[in-house]
Symmetry: C3
Subunit: 427 residues, 3 copies
């Protein structure tokens, strides 16, 4: 696929394309989503049968829906799934009845405070049916009989998730995980899917050090399923990021892993701080997206979460107002850029051992140091070499060196390359 | 004893009743004090003979006093022990002489800066006699001969202290220690005695987890005697509080144990902070009350000190102005309430182990989680369960969970109860 | 040598005497410098032959210079080494040529921003010749032919450094190191040499606990040479200070050792803070003076650096403006005083063990505590004893006690002496 436009525009186009699909934690909406992503990069799609035990959970029946509406006495559809996948309570059991509005109300979900917006609601594990609609729409409905119909099926089937792997120089893995279960919500999480997809493509171009595994899975049950099926692989997962809410116009927010000082936490803090971007660093909480699962105490992975405005932090969250206009090409491009910068640091962050640790080695005779002495404007590159030499005791990484010296990571890593080239340090 | 009035009033009545008695580190004043406390709760009274070696100290001779005065040439008592037990230098040896004022002055103690107040002075370990009086009184004395008489005895006898134990579910102990050696001083420490007494009574009503031991002992030598006689029990003392200056109108002050981060230190900080009360947390110093002994380096117990205005922090300290008007029912009730809150937290503070640590367990199917998804106003109780599950790795207590989550301790502890009930965590 | 004047004046006189000499990393200028210092205190002078391998370096050829100038067509010396040793690029190879100004320019070093000042430049390890002059001088030179002559020799010889040892009660050493390689620069480092010299003399008067070793060596190569020749002694070096820029009128700056919390770091911070002097504490950087070598990761000694305005921190740095007027007797006396205070603390800083750790020992019967009780103005000396007793658990030094108690170190150390005298603590 040729790059005709800037990545921000391309990612926004992907969001718009995915937006109408009715995704849930299982079903054809997820498959259609993965088919489209698969046009951008090859995916390995997994189908896990209903009833499979995954950790403490069981893969549920598969849900599919063809049509749903509430029609008034005249047959006019006053609420119509065809207009928005949000109109149906996720995982609604089928229904085909006529009932008075008074009885129907118990199945209707609105946002009284935001009368024009349709909420997003689900009932995955309790058999239920319902509709979500604008409070205005509800207020305009006269009393009377309504036909309610949800043409859905709940049946044994599969849970679907996909992976894409960018092979690295070492088998140690970085996971990038995004949830694919939400229906027509742009920021949550089509923007995350789009950023993950373009991130995967750009990583492939640079022969990364780590192996990068992208996981597209339904929230909670999908991450749990992946973890259940990859218990051995988890040993290799050294770092990770959960990507969500990646496209709104708010500042970037990084939520630390449960460990709080995992390398990924330090890398993101460094990159966000060094970049000068306004941003926020939050402590871990066991709530939010699938970092909840990766950071459960049994796994305790070094996986943080990168969002723009975080979970439940904006009024449009989980409503019809989270539409493609709510996310911007610039914001997605910015999220993508930070991910790329962070992984560039992560990929180069090593601990070295100074092979000449007694006194400073004579850099000048190796061509690494200016011959003329006495000047006070020593170059950053030379300072960086002195810092790397001084801290290369096996206990400090290049990121430590960058943070302690205040020098840019790239300058430090380049200095390390020069010193390694001169045989003065080794990994 | 029926509770006719609020605890604050009852405690103040106890202070007033104890106030006139002439307490010291030994003698009948201590016994009379313990007799009165014994009307409120059963006490085990210990009598330790003079000469007993206790750690680096020796139990001194017992001091008792019947009368003491300075009388002028007309026989009028210008300073009279009957008016206030403060008038005699504590542990004064007997004297019966007539001498000119010029000679007497060397035995008189006043507070020149507070001419109306009588100071509190002692000479426990150096044989001495003396009177304490107001500077005003001294200034009004004409030169001339005065009869001085102190009808005291210093003789082999006993040091007296008492204990009251509220049995708990485990033998591990919490000690609450208050000094009973000061004469007519209300805040220091009759208020502490009163709060300890009512605290003991209220603990008995709730079947506490820990065994609570209340120690009523003279300062320094009493705590040292208790420690000397309980060297093995000390192993079981897990937490403790020294109660003093518990009734003045100042804000609460908690002084940390020597350890600085003992569980009692964290509990008091949490309770004081969470309560919104103005308060101060101080670092440990090896000066003040009997925390000096409990926190000596050989014992190093997790014992802090709770006061209102602390040691030597108010002008009335160790003077006749520390009278029953100086302490208020409300302040004592407030000190009592904080002790009760703190011990309620301490009693419930456990570390649990998540029995389903890989991913989140499915709370919904256990009835612990709302079935309807998508809402952003997740209830505190559910958040608390996620926090407890996430941090129940054997290394975090419920207090850790409360502090890290920002949730009330009670909500966290209740969540832990629910999870334990569902078999998801174990102690 | 009798002390006729205040040390500040004496040190300034030493600076003025040393100022005209042309020092470099080798050669007779260093020897003449050490000869003069040797009039103040006996020095052990070491001569290390050219070609000796020292750590990663090799002792270079010895450089000596007799004369150097640039003369115009009329024979007038427009730049003359005799006027200032700064005029010649350090380690210039000999030259005797006539060349047009246009060709000569490549060998001329000026400070365009400071047109009246002559810069200090060297080329130790790349064969080169050159002159340093004021930009004003250069601007005034007409085009034309100039005679350039540098009557220097670069030949096998020696690197010269010296030591002076003040013997202590224990063989553990404190090193004080100052560089002696800079030509006519007063603050950098004649003031450091002067302070070190007077410090050594004053230490000898007080029978110090540690053995103090003063190292006068050329920068970088000299410290490296000392380290190479003293690899076994380094085990005994427990603390150290590099002295430089010790005489300008700026505030004192202490740069921590690489360890950051070495005892010398804590002592200097304590002394500077307690003294109330304005000062700055800086983190270690692997740049500056010979702390770079002592703190290289293989040695990682507890050696910090004390300066007034630090390395490259003033415009006069490495220029002719760093002349004897730039340093003041008062500033040097102040630097000396802080060194003396710091070493007084270091020498008395011990960790003790409380031999009576269960409860407080009875200080009163040992005459260490006031007999009269009840007063709230307990003396500092008594508080200090309680603090020393409480923290003498083998894990706290007297400096810890001073910092935690807020008491002056001297009060704490005196209390420890009293307690040790009473057999209550042992080292």
């Amino acid at each position: 696929m040729a790059r005709m436009t800037a990545p921000g525009e391309e990612m926004h186009a992907l969001v718009e394309r995915l937006y109408p699909l009715c995704r849930s934690i299982t079903g054809d909406g997820v498959r259609a989503t993965l088919d489209i992503v698969g046009e951008y990069l090859p995916l390995q799609v997994h189908e896990v049968p209903t009833g499979t035990q995954v950790l403490d959970w069981t893969v549920p029946q598969e849900w599919n829906i063809r049509d749903a509406y509430i029609a008034d006495a005249s047959g006019r559809r006053v609420v119509d799934f065809a207009a928005s996948s949000l109109h149906v309570l996720g995982y609604s059991v089928p229904v085909a009845r006529t009932m008075p509005l008074s009885e129907l109300r118990a199945h209707l979900h609105t946002l009284p405070d935001r009368p024009k917006w349709v909420p997003y609601r689900t009932s995955y594990y309790k058999p239920e049916w319902g509709f979500c609609l604008a409070q205005e729409t509800l207020d305009a409905l006269p009393d009377g009989e309504y036909e309610v119909r949800i043409d859905s099926t709940l049946a044994d089937g599969h849970l679907t998730y996909a992976e894409h792997v960018v092979p690295g120089q070492v088998p140690d893995e970085v996971i990038v995980s995004c949830h694919v279960c939400h229906p027509s919500l742009a920021n949550d999480n089509l923007a995350g899917i789009a950023v993950a997809t373009f991130l995967a493509r750009s990583l492939a171009e640079r022969n990364p050090y780590y192996t990068y595994r992208f996981i597209y899975a339904p929230g909670t049950i999908g991450a749990i399923t992946w973890l259940a099926r990859n218990k051995e692989r988890v040993e290799q997962v050294k770092h990770g990021v959960v990507l969500a809410c990646a496209g709104d116009r708010g500042q970037l927010t990084y939520k630390r892993s449960r460990r709080g000082d995992a390398e990924i936490d330090r890398v993101l803090r460094h990159v966000l701080t060094a970049s000068g971007r306004p941003h926020e660093i939050r402590e871990f909480t066991p709530y939010g997206y699938d970092e909840r699962q990766y950071c459960s105490p049994g796994f305790d992975l070094g996986v943080g979460s990168l969002t723009r405005t975080p979970y439940a932090g904006y009024p449009e969250y989980h409503t019809s107002a989270d539409n493609p206009d709510f996310v911007s090409p610039e914001a997605m491009a910015d999220t993508l850029a930070v991910c790329r910068e962070a992984f560039a640091v992560l990929d180069r962050n090593r601990s070295y051992l100074n092979l000449s640790p007694y006194g400073e080695p004579q850099l000048g005779r190796r061509g690494l140091y200016d011959a003329l002495g006495g000047r006070s404007d020593t170059k950053e590159a030379q300072l960086a070499m002195l810092w790397v030499l001084n801290l290369s005791d096996g206990e400090h990484s290049l990121l430590d060196v960058a943070e302690r010296s205040g020098l840019p990571f790239d300058t430090v890593a380049t200095a390390a390359d020069a010193l390694r080239g001169a045989g003065l340090i080794k990994a």
